[in-house]
Amino acid sequence: MSYQFDFSFLYDYWPDLLAGMRLTIGLSVLSILFGFIFGSACAIARVHGGKTLRTIVGCYVDLVRNTPLVVQAFWLFFGMASMGLKIGAFWAAIITLVINVGAYTTEIIRAGLESIPRGQKEAADCLALRRWQVILYIELPQAVERVYPALVSQFILMMLATSIMSQISVEELTGAAYGIQSMTFRGFEVYVVVAVIYLVLSWLTRTMFEVIARIAFTRRRLRTPL
């Protein structure tokens, strides 16, 4: 075996990687943010909504969780394009990711909502709070706190999953890597570098959510160091 590893492409192509990284972070931040909001709304609908609404949300969750993200992305991106709707690859990616992570978030937060003791809701009712106030100020914050670790794991998976959006021509990190390897024929080296970048991004994502937890869940500081 006489393969010579050559990482010199980094010198010429690091701006491409940087641009890709920026897109990856953009995709991740937007879809986690909107996915969380959308998933929370769906979880509330799933728990408190009428029968029809509960069924619709249930079907949405089952449908999304039992089909691959790539197929969802292709369906939306190529499908929209075939109907003459040009929403652009970036927004197609965002919509797909939000719908996708929203379904997982729905299930996680639903479990959190269902685990809140009945007495909490009763106490809030007795304080003359409106229904939406009880949900927003009492149930949702406690639910999110309870399932926070599961949410963070899901969000990290989501960040990693943005890598597939290169398949619908979003030039995020993986897309940038593909471009570089097709010009340099240094596929292995390029993907090693990109893998390291993703590892750092995973670590950063986790750290960021730990910081958020420290700020948001103040009382946790009193007991367990995160």
Binding site: G119, Q120, A123, L127, A128, L129, R130, E145, F217, L222
Partner: protein, 242 residues
């Protein structure tokens, strides 16, 4: 003297299990009424009917001028005037003591942020926990948590407060501090309905004691009824050492 709570022949059942079988009683403004009786006699149910946590099947129930037996009764406005304290405190664990107390006044529009802050200071002082305003419930003892729950009710400036065995989960020492708080409240003229197992406390604090048995008001009187029970059931209940 106006009655804040009036039960007239109230019936209530859970499914096929009748729990209240024609309860009639009144709670006049400014009075302290204690509900006593065996476990399962319907005390909690009666109490929960007063702020609409349970609906009644027949009879009439008027609380603060609202007719709870009518279908269109506005529970939210009722609950602005009726506070309740539970055996299990039910404080909101994700909020500080102060936030627990100010949440309802702020969200219901009863008070602005600044006013709510002032209310919190006042009611926490009243229950002797002003220095715990920034603590979280889990940092407090059971007795302290229960006093915060009382403060939380007080912050809504209710016309009547309901207490459902609020000391049953506490050991004797902590029980004493909570009872002292309630007693001070009674002296301040607050209208209260207490479900309690603390007979000596009921006797000392209550203006009227109602003995419930098998879902009806069996016997009523003041503190002296313990010395001179009129019914064998009350005699037995008193004699059982409670």
């Amino acid at each position: 003297m106006t009655a804040l709570v009036t039960f007239k022949d109230v019936h209530k059942s859970y499914g096929t299990l009748p729990v209240l079988k024609g309860v009639s009683l009144t709670v006049p403004e400014g009075r302290v009424v204690a509900l006593i009786g065996r476990s399962g006699s319907g005390k909690s149910t009666a109490l929960r009917c007063i702020n609409g946590l349970e609906t009644i099947q027949s009879g009439t129930l008027e609380v603060c001028g609202r007719k709870l037996h009518e279908a269109n009764c506005d529970l939210r406005h009722l609950r602005m005037e009726v506070g309740i304290v539970f055996q299990s405190y039910n404080l909101f664990p994700h909020l500080t003591v102060e936030q627990n107390v100010t949440l309802a006044p702020r969200l219901t529009g009863k008070a602005s942020q600044a006013e709510a802050h002032e209310i919190a200071r006042k009611v926490l002082e009243q229950v002797g926990l002003a220095e715990k305003a920034k603590a979280y419930p889990e940092q407090l003892s059971g007795g302290q948590q229960q006093r915060v729950a009382i403060a939380r009710s007080l912050a809504m400036q209710p016309r009547v407060i309901l207490f459902d065995e609020v000391t049953s989960a506490l050991d004797p020492e902590l029980t004493a501090e909570v009872l002292k708080t309630i007693e001070q409240l009674a002296q301040s003229g607050m209208t209260m309905v207490l479900v309690t197992h603390e007979m000596s406390f009921a006797r000392r604090v209550a203006d009227e004691i109602i003995f419930m048995h098998q879902g009806v008001v069996w016997e009523t009187g003041d503190g002296s009824m313990f010395d001179n029970p009129q019914t064998p059931e009350l005699r037995q209940f008193v004699g059982s050492g409670l």
